[in-house]
């Protein structure tokens, strides 16, 4: 791989989503990420089947592109020794075990630290303090952090996001943290320990509302497909489907009302007035849109400068040419190729090389031991003979 982090070695002990997303973004940007997995089953997401693509789960493919895999049993001394040697050869360590697990293996920061090592711990509620031992689950953190209370329809139960967005936000924030630490090390030579807790990150996502509550005690009520801050915003049924409208300004609302020939009530000229009268406004807009087709609405509203788009399910969205161009397939070492979801970020001056789909469990054990640690073939065989290292390239 080329890319900005070419030559940076990452020993990645993380599993499931948050940690693996952090390390995948490093891998996308050229880092040599070695995923250290248990020889039996590996990362839990390998078992998130059916469905599967040649026995690789969608979650495995989503969060493990451009990584290599070594299967090591950390419950065995030889496995721990090999893991420690990989850390000693790495620039960055990433882990998201429960608090105490890395310490039990002798692989926690205090045990392995050196001045230039970057060690990122993705914890649930912090590695220290009264909640350190509590386990972290995305749906529970969505609930406890207030995040979940905001999504869903009024007078119905709250609903979590289908994609585990606390895990995802934590993984992305972890990437910010590690890349910041890499930049600091580049300038000063100094590594460091950093921590990105699930709960803290989930709560931080609610800042738009947490700050408001702290100002005047406002507790927002669920708002369906609307918006807390602007009106009208919504998903409206029309003759042949659904349309999403998201008005940002008073001028756009005036243009919307005129384009639809919709009589505007007193007060609707300001966002505050529209928010105060949201239910009536929503009903009027729904009535005006119902008899029209999506294309009629799009043509009329886009000509008037009103932000809107077809509200699509995934099949329709993915069939759009703009989406299809981004939803590529990428090479896989064992199965030819695999479907890929795009990386959200692009560096136009230092593009990364050809991507590689998520590895089979233990596929690269021998190569990693040779390249990172200078192991001979005999040493690899000796480690394998202890039972601490799994065979390479198992179909799971």
């Amino acid at each position: 791989m080329s890319g900005p982090f070419q030559g940076i070695r990452v020993a990645d002990f993380s599993r499931v989503i948050a940690g693996p997303l952090t390390s995948m973004h490093l891998a996308d940007l050229g880092a040599d990420v070695v995923k250290i997995e248990h020889p039996v089953g590996g990362d839990d997401t390998r078992g998130y089947t059916p469905p599967d693509y040649h026995s690789l789960s969608a979650a495995m493919l989503c969060y493990n592109r451009n990584k290599r895999s070594i299967a090591l049993d950390l419950g065995v001394e030889e496995g721990r020794n090999a893991a420690r040697a990989l850390i000693d050869a790495a620039d960055v360590v990433i882990e998201n075990f429960s608090t105490g697990v890395m310490a039990k293996f002798g692989l926690d920061y205090e045990s392995v630290k050196r001045p230039d090592l970057i060690y990122c711990s993705t914890s649930a509620y912090g590695r220290t303090g009264p909640f350190a031992k509590r386990l972290g689950y995305d749906p529970v953190v969505q609930a406890e952090s207030g995040f979940m209370s905001l999504t869903g329809h009024r007078h119905q139960e709250p609903v979590r996001t289908a994609i585990p967005m606390v895990d995802v936000s934590t993984g992305l924030t972890g990437g910010v943290g590690v890349m910041a630490a890499l930049f600091h090390r580049k300038r000063t030579g100094q590594g460091q320990f950093l921590e990105v807790p699930l709960f803290d990150t989930g709560f931080a996502q609610t800042g738009l509302h947490a700050v408001g509550y702290l100002l005047d005690g406002t507790v927002p009520e669920r708002i369906g497909n609307g918006d807390f801050f602007l009106a009208p915003v919504g998903r409206y049924r029309c003759e042949d489907g659904e349309i999403m409208i998201a008005v940002d300004t008073d001028e756009q609302f005036a243009a919307l009302a005129e384009a639809l020939g919709m009589p505007a009530a007193a007060g609707w000229e300001s966002n505050a007035g529209r928010i105060a009268d949201r239910a009536t406004l929503d009903a009027a807009l729904a009535a005006a849109l119902a008899p029209l087709s999506r294309i009629e609405i799009l043509v009329a509203l886009q000509a008037a400068g009103v932000p809107c788009h077809e509200a699509r399910g995934i099949p329709e969205a993915f069939a759009d040419r703009a989406a299809a161009n981004l939803l590529d397939t990428i090479p896989h070492e064992d199965i030819g190729e695999a479907p890929n979801m795009p990386s959200p970020l692009q560096l136009h001056g230092t593009p990364s090389g050809a991507p590689m789909a998520a590895p089979r469990l233990g596929k690269h054990g021998e190569a990693v031991l040779q390249q990172w640690l200078g192991f001979s073939g005999e040493q690899v065989a000796a480690l394998r003979a202890t039972g601490a290292m799994g065979a390479g390239g198992q179909a799971a």
Partner: protein
């Protein structure tokens, strides 16, 4: 202790959510962020909801700490010239206009790089698949991401938080940091970008990939799951609980430590996850009846003691006032030029050596115009 980005100058031409969220993080990391605003200010200042006496919204406060505000009329040549002067000195410029609008103003990467080859031009691209422009809600709609949230039997519910823009902000910060890292060796900046639509597609992750693998359109599962039981929302005597018992290990912990119904372990209807999914109706009915008998705190304590995944579904107020937020210091106050101390939600990253900056509250509109003009020799009037 110094911040990671001490001495890095960021020129922020963005407004709304994604760009400001990104530059706020850069400010937290120590960068000097100059927020350029038109005479009417970033529109988020006027968004509805709680606000300061001077009119600035809570949402604006939440997205703009650790920045200075420079008011410029970009429609006027002097305003555009000031941007060019600042961009010639900046390390990073952040934009959120569509590419054509950037080029019209001369704020595109090629033009700005001509004056400053070390510049990192970081763009949020708001373009939708049909070429129009939109923010979070429209990208949820266009990508299909917004269609997969919601109760099984009801309509979709978009994420009420602008997660397409907040995730794009993190991705843009990553791109900036990677470009700063590689600039140390190359000596040159570059253009980096995050497309809001590209990001929204990426965010469909395994829902999107499962569809591509199987061709079966995804369906909404609300708070449950087709593959595991019991999962979902349950009402305790005084409030809702989130329960996520996917798998045998946590089911056993729950039965023994929370429900205290050991007979369920030998009940053939509930023997395995497959059995529980098959007999979900009966199981959920039993659980609903059970949870109603005790207050929420009783169940929450039991879940934690048993290390089983369940917890309270908190309102924003309950979350802010929770022991976790208090003990972990996740809210605080920051000095504000017109309102004394105002609340802030802290950046979640904990660096041992380069802590995020102590927050300075969001600036007043144009608060630092004169100081920045003097510092950079801008001719504004």
């Amino acid at each position: 202790m110094a911040g990671v980005l001490d001495g890095i100058l960021v020129l922020d031409l963005s407004a709304g959510v994604a760009g400001p969220a990104a530059t706020q993080t850069l400010g937290d990391l120590g960068a000097d962020v100059i927020k350029v605003e038109p005479p009417g200010g970033d529109p988020v200042r006027a968004w509805a909801g709680p606000r300061l006496a001077n009119g600035d919204s809570a949402a604006f406060l939440a997205l703009n700490r650790n920045k200075r505000s420079l008011m410029l009329e970009l429609a006027a040549p002097k305003g555009r010239a000031a941007v060019r002067t600042l961009a010639a000195r900046a390390d990073v410029v952040v934009t959120d206009s569509p590419p054509t609008a950037l080029a019209e103003h001369g704020f595109d990467a090629d033009t700005l790089h001509a004056d400053n080859p070390r510049l990192i031009h970081a763009a949020i691209d708001p373009t939708l698949p049909d070429g129009s422009v939109g923010r979070d809600a429209l990208h949820q709609a266009a990508s299909g991401w917004g269609s997969i949230n919601g109760l099984e039997e009801g309509p979709p519910a978009k994420s009420a938080l602008p997660m397409m823009e907040l995730t794009a902000a993190n991705a843009l910060v990553q791109a900036v940091l990677a470009a700063l890292f590689v600039r140390e060796d190359r000596g040159e900046g570059q253009a980096v970008s995050v497309g809001l639509f590209r990001n929204a597609l990426a965010m469909t992750y395994f829902y999107g990939l499962n569809y591509r693998i199987t061709g079966t359109p995804p369906v909404r599962h609300g708070n449950g799951s087709p593959a595991a039981a019991p999962l979902g929302v349950f009402e305790a005597a005084d409030g809702p609980l989130q329960v996520t018992l996917a798998g045998e290990r946590v089911w056993r912990k729950f039965v023994e430590g929370v429900a205290n119904r050991p007979e369920w372990l030998s009940d053939p209807r509930y023997a395995t996850n497959t059995d529980r999914v098959r007999n979900k109706q009966a199981l959920l009915a039993e659980l609903e009846a059970m949870f109603r008998t005790q207050p929420r705190d009783h169940w929450v304590d039991a879940f934690r003691a048993a290390a089983a995944p369940g917890g309270p579904i908190r309102t924003i107020g309950e979350a802010v006032d929770s022991p976790e937020v208090r003990e972990r210091g996740l809210v605080g106050t920051a000095p504000h030029s017109a309102a004394g101390e105002v609340p802030v939600v802290m950046n979640p990253i904990r660096f041992a050596e380069t802590p995020v900056r102590a927050p300075q509250a969001a600036p007043l509109l144009g608060e630092h115009t004169a100081a920045i003009a003097a510092e950079f020799g801008l001719a504004l009037d």
